[in-house]
Symmetry: C2
Subunit: 281 residues, 2 copies
């Protein structure tokens, strides 16, 4: 398979079916930022079904960090409402395997771990509003610098559901002072991609001590005329699942997302026909 | 209690706490359209917990008819993310009790039926976009005529989850030909209230044989220059629950909704603080 390895640059011009095929076949194992432009990408959480209802309640109660865009049937490896042929066992470049709350391994496919007991959850991701900000003239630092966005455990609490609780994890993007309100308004249009910011300005207000030491990702330097803007982050449910120390859980490896068939501009996260415009009889 | 009975007109000027108190005490048992203006009202489904995960998947997969705005813990009669003190056993004017898929009784409180086995679901309702259309100059026929909106079983299918399946139920409002696109655009802003229309124009295109014979509600006459516009309707999950013939289920009586503390304009359906706007250090 290594002989077929595709590089990121060559995939950027491919459509989403080709990108997904490259991932499924093992030819591409890197991050998915900027790939299959225009389609919703998703965070992944796979859990034993005994935790599924509580986890789904956790997402419903914390829609900014955890915008649900798809849920499988028990034991079904296909995420049928997110795409024509999404096989969750192969269609992500890399998976994190957690056992009793600790990362135990990273894999490029999870067929060997699949069982009838598992339920898959897909949650919207920030790529969607980043694209919209870039299109509307607000440069996104982590895209321009080709770095992973910095992420922090905040002091903002999630709303608990069963064993799932903990802090809201936030991502930070520096925005020019005079563009903060525009950035907030643009992202508010994408509730399936974390929506409007949770906070901007002083990081300490939301419990972040050192902005240059993110808990995940890489630091993003903040310019003189810039304000740090914080959005709810899809790592929140991974942190909640880890804190709950459930025996077994699979997630995507941060940055290596599921590419869905749902357009980024979709009103609701399902594959559905456009409204039928008929002729009055 | 009857001695205290309040009429609809006197409640229209009251705030939502007073309206909820009047309902809770049994002083008001009528419909909630136009009450507690500005706050999200919700359809109600209460089910035994063994059906809760499948029902929640049904809602996630059918977000236009079933926009989830709240889910309780197992056996918890409080809907904590929808309001400060919502006690689901008393806070609706009227409840429908279904046994094995058939309506068995209507009650004004359900304390006697409550058990640790029950899970409550609240789903957004069309009042929200009706208010927005009226504010923006599109008259809503059923409001002007003080009738119940006509509802129809369509030929559009829902996406199945476990035992829950069946047609999308749609509501119809006649709209002036030159305002149809505006009405569609306004309602698209409220995905928690069914969002944009499913269809407009020929009713037969979506399987409706006689527009003057709705399956629920009252007929709405369509004028010469008007087009029938069809939105997904919150009766869809009631129809799915009835078709599944589950042994026991409670819903609101159509028109008698739950009044939440969530503003109609909320980005996400949870009580949450506004983004904190701090000062740059």
């Amino acid at each position: 398979m290594k002989g077929n390895a595709l590089d990121y640059r060559s995939l950027r011009t491919k459509n989403r079916q080709d990108v997904r095929q490259a991932i499924r076949s093992g030819s591409y194992r890197g991050h998915t930022a900027g790939l299959a432009d225009g389609y919703l990408q998703a965070n992944l959480i796979i859990l034993p079904k005994i935790y599924a209802l509580d986890f789904m309640r956790f997402c419903q109660r914390n829609p900014k960090p955890c915008p649900l865009v798809g849920v499988s049937d028990d034991g079904d490896p296909y995420l049928r409402t997110c795409g024509q042929d999404i096989d969750i066992r192969h269609d992500l470049p890399s998976y994190n395997i957690y056992r009793n709350g600790a990362l135990s391994e990273q894999l490029h496919a999870i067929e060997a771990l699949w069982s009838e007991e598992l339920v898959t959850f897909a949650l919207g991701c920030s790529f969607t509003f980043e694209h919209a900000m870039e299109r509307q003239g607000i440069p996104v630092r982590n895209i321009r610098n080709n770095t992973t966005v910095p992420m922090y455990r905040s002091s903002l609490p999630t709303v608990q559901a069963g064993p799932f609780r903990g802090p809201v994890v936030v991502s930070m993007r520096p925005v020019a002072q005079n563009q903060v309100h525009k950035a907030a308004a643009i992202s508010a249009h994408y509730p399936l991609a974390h929506g409007s910011p949770m906070h901007w300005g002083n990081p300490q207000t939301i419990g972040i001590g050192d902005i240059d030491k993110p808990d995940w990702g890489e630091r993003s330097p903040i310019g003189r005329d810039e304000v740090p803007v914080f959005w709810a982050c899809g790592v929140t449910p991974q942190a909640a699942v880890q804190a709950a120390k459930i025996p077994f859980c699979i997630s995507h490896t941060p940055g290596c997302m599921l590419i869905t068939d749902i357009p980024e501009t979709a009103e609701v996260p399902v594959l559905m026909p456009e409204p039928v415009e008929g002729v009055r009889p």
